[in-house]
Structure formats: C-alpha cells, structure tokens
Assembly symmetry: C2
Homo-oligomer: 197 residues x 2
C-alpha cells in the first residue's frame, strides 16, 4: 500500500525515467528479447546503472506494460457501456488487438505464458475479469455462441499475436481481415458443435 518506499535522489529519478522510456522504445521496435545493452545505450546511461534500477528484464516488463495495459480498463468499460452487447464484445476484441499491433513488445508479452508472479499477470487477471463480464453479456444477448469461453480468448490472443508479428512489416492491417473471419465464426447463428474435426 505504501506507494513510495524511497524518495529517489534527483539524478536517479531522472535516469529511471530515461530507462523506462528507452525500454519502451526498444521493446516496441525490437521485441521483448532486445538486448538490455541497447536500452542502456538509448537511455544514455551505463549498463551498470540499468541493472541498479532494474535487476531483471522482468522488472522492466512489470514497470512498463501494466501502465500501458491500463487502457484496457477503459476499453472494457466502453464495451460494457455499449447498448448492443455483441457490438461491445467485438469492439473489445478490436481494442485488444489494436494495442498488440501498436506495440511489438506488448504483442510479445501477450503471446507468451507469463511468469506466474509478475505484475503483468495481475493486470491481465483484471483484464480477464472484464472479458468474462463482456463475454457473459454477449452470450446472454444470444449473439455470441454459447460455447465460447474465456480460455478461447487467450488462444485467440496467441493466434493474433503471430499474425500481427508476421504481417507487421508488409501489411499492418492484415490482422483485421483475419479477425473478421474469426468473429463471423463466433456468432451464435454460425455455431456448429465442436469436436467433429
């Protein structure tokens, strides 16, 4: 609960800020596996200083993405506010994947299974809670097929992450087309029993 355990020294706070900005840029450009040295260099700071502030790569991830993922709360709220539950559901999907498409690093992060105890996992849990409500509402409206589960949304996130990654350079909007096909398969009237494949 105590928000600020230590009142960082002025230069330290400045460097921390520069590191976070640099990390966001580098992760965005090169993905989550970018060398930490690149981040230090872009921040104009030594590698030692980087480690002083963020002892692990995960520390960066935890410091950057939860903030960025907070947008998701807003998106979820808007989706739930939409009088049409189905339209809200689809808008939620589009919102998630737009986020992924805009940030190579976030896309990487969402494409993986998280370390169980990360900050990021917690934020995703909150996102999942929202998703659950949105899914439930869309199902009850009779527009979303009844057998769609939260875990299917996870799988869909994985799936789209790869489409986004591979098409980013040549056709940045290709994922929308792909999503359109999937969405058509999620309508209640399109549903066929699963398990015949």
């Amino acid at each position: 609960m105590a928000a600020e355990p230590k009142p960082l020294r002025a230069d330290a706070a400045r460097n921390r800020r520069k590191l976070l900005d640099a990390a966001a840029e580098v992760f965005g450009d090169r993905g989550l596996d970018a060398p930490l040295e690149h981040i230090a260099r872009r921040a104009g700071v030594s590698i030692g200083t980087l480690y002083a502030h963020f002892p692990t790569r995960q520390a960066f991830v935890d410091a950057i993405f939860p903030e960025r993922l907070a947008v998701l709360d807003r998106i979820a709220d808007e989706s739930l506010a939409d009088p049409d539950p189905w339209r809200g559901f689809v808008a939620f999907l589009v919102g998630i994947f737009t986020l992924q498409a805009e940030d190579h690093g976030l896309n990487d992060a969402l494409a993986r299974r998280f370390p169980q105890a990360s900050e990021l996992a917690e934020v995703c849990q909150r996102g999942a809670d929202h998703a659950e409500r949105i899914i439930k509402r869309a199902k009850e409206s009779g527009r979303l097929r009844a057998d769609f589960e939260l875990s299917d949304l996870t799988a869909l996130t994985w799936a789209m992450s790869q489409v986004i990654r591979e098409s980013a350079a040549t056709a940045p909007d290709a994922w929308r087309r792909c999503l359109a096909f999937v969405v058509d398969g999620l309508r209640a009237e399109a549903a066929h029993p699963i398990g015949e494949l």
Copy 2:
C-alpha cells in the same frame, strides 16, 4: 536435373544420414533455433563434420522439411478426392495443422516468412497450388465463403502455429477447438462483409 552430382564416400553418406536424423529429432524437440552443436552431439559426430555436410542451418531445413511436407501432397489429393468439397477443404486444414502440431520444428518453419530462395519455399509453393484448387472447389460448391483467399490460409497458418506452440505442453489438442471456431466463420452462410471492424 542430375540427381547425384557426387557419389559420396561410404562413411560420409553414413554421417550425413545420422546428421539428418539427429537434426529432425532436435528440431522436433527444441524448435528450429536449437544449437547446431546439439545436433552434432546427438548424431555422434564432430561439429566440424556437421559443417562439412551442412554449411548453414538453412541447409538442414531444406534437407529435412520438404520430404516431410511431401505428405501434404497426399493430403491434398485426398481432399480433392472427397466428393464433398467442403469436407475436403476442412480435412485439408486439419491435415496441415496436424503436421504442425506433430513437429515443433516444422511448426516453427511454417510460422515464419521463408528466405525466398529456399527449397522449403518451393515445396510450399506446390502446397499452395494444391490449396488454391481446394479453395476454388470449395468456393464453387457454395459452402466456402467467396472472399476467402489463399493469403488468408497463410495467415491462418501463422495464427495456428502460435496456438500450437503455446498450448503444446498443457493441452496438445487445444488447436482443434480454435480451428473449429474459425471454420465456422469460413462457411458461406456465416459470412459478413469484411471491413467493418
């Protein structure tokens, strides 16, 4: 055209065989980025010998996967032989993804954009030709939505590759469920105009 440019010496032929087998195993277990040293060790051969036979990683890929992907010809034939074009189309999809799910290395290979001049790309071209016919037939039967293109199959391959990769350890059949949703979206009667997202 000349099939055998050089009549390899007996021991060399043996080692080549061992290397190929080892590479197939290692790629299958650890994915396409596995260290070449692992392959040499599993083959019981020195790293120098490995490089003598296969100067690049791509050389391994070209030597292994085309052969493995030849199954696809058979699958495509069966799909075209099916009197029901739609069922053939779906069977073709299931065939592709089953291949990917069975071989971590192949899954990796298909998840990426290929170097343009690789053997693998050529085999995939042949696969694409088959796919084109299967898609055409399914469209003409009126069961497959008219706006589905070959390039959408590529995207679908990317998408499924990530689902397969992430769920392989915990739920090896999860991709079937995911595919079922997509397939329902590919039916002609499920189609809604693309571009409203």
